[in-house]
């Protein structure tokens, strides 16, 4: 994964380094309003350092991280043949409308295609219009899987025998 590098006029896309994580975490906090540095440290361990897992960033010509994207190949979840999954994407609000997001999406799709899959999927909140519109604009459409959920009851605590 270390060889991925795509240069554009105003920015380049490359593999994330450990030293980028504070900037990625800060960017995510700016976008979502929730700071979660531990989560981003864990994401780097899981996706920034292993084969066939992709944690890419966009860096502008001043050396600032202005975007990130993460994805991997997943297989056989409820019968789904191997397919690419993109499950994190963020672009600095000041750097939007400059093809940063679509360039990162193209780059990660190239990585996933080289791993042998012919589809890429993602899952979004229904009301996340920004990301939903972005992924639609890249050509993504509703797929054959549906997300379902339910609230969980509180765990039942059982007494051990003899206690």
């Amino acid at each position: 994964m270390s060889g991925i590098r795509v240069k554009y006029d105003d920015f380049e896309i490359r593999v994330a380094k450990n030293s980028d994580i504070a900037a990625v975490s800060g960017l995510d906090a700016t976008i979502t309003g929730i700071a979660k540095p531990d989560y981003w440290g864990d994401m780097f361990e899981r996706y920034g350092t292993r084969d066939k897992r992709y944690f890419l960033v966009s860096e502008n010509n001043d050396g600032l991280v202005i975007g990130f994207i993460i994805g991997e190949v997943r297989a056989w979840e409820f019968g789904s043949p191997p397919s690419g999954w993109v499950f994190a994407l963020g672009v600095d609000p000041n750097a939007r409308l400059n093809k940063v997001g679509s360039s990162m999406f193209d780059a990660i799709c190239d990585c996933l295609a080289r791993d042998g899959v012919d589809k890429v999927r993602t899952m979004l909140a229904r009301d996340d219009e920004l990301n939903m519109t972005f992924f639609r604009s890249q050509g993504m459409m509703g797929g054959p899987f549906v997300e379902l959920e339910m609230p969980l009851a509180a765990p039942v605590t059982r007494k051990k025998a003899g206690s």
Partner: protein
């Protein structure tokens, strides 16, 4: 969701005009392209003009042209002008002693409606036009 005739006409017209916002197309030509009634389309175009999505150009070579931002205008923006897509009343009356069956059916109805609305809100005119051949 079955769209009303007016909504279908509006989507045809808006998308045809948004293909190239610089050009003007007459109602008759749009109607001819899609095989729809020109009288029906004329009324729909008036509604689209009131919503500031198209404008009527007078004179020789006049017609209609798209004046919105096709990268921002979504299918929802067009559909909502003609359909009651934002009602959250549910499709089923909560009849009976508890209304429990009606409430359960309404939850399903709401789920379908929410998916419909989020789908329409996520597709801009540019996206639809760009991905037509996929």
């Amino acid at each position: 969701m079955r769209l009303q005739k007016a909504t279908q006409c509006a989507l045809f017209a808006v998308l045809e005009l948004a293909r190239d916002p610089k050009i003007q197309i007459s109602a008759a030509d749009i109607a001819d392209t899609f095989g729809i009634s020109v009288n029906h389309l004329a009324k729909v175009l008036r509604d689209l003009a009131r919503a500031r999505l198209v404008e009527s150009m007078r004179g020789a070579g006049g017609g209609y042209r798209f004046i919105g931002n096709p990268k921002r205008v979504t299918l929802y923006d067009v559909v909502k002008l003609f359909e009651d897509v934002d009602t959250h009343d549910g499709a089923f009356p909560e009849t009976g002693e508890d209304g429990d069956i009606g409430r359960a059916l309404n939850r399903v109805s709401m789920e379908i409606e929410n998916i419909t609305v989020s789908t329409l809100k996520s597709i801009t005119l540019t996206t639809l036009l760009k991905n037509m051949d996929r």
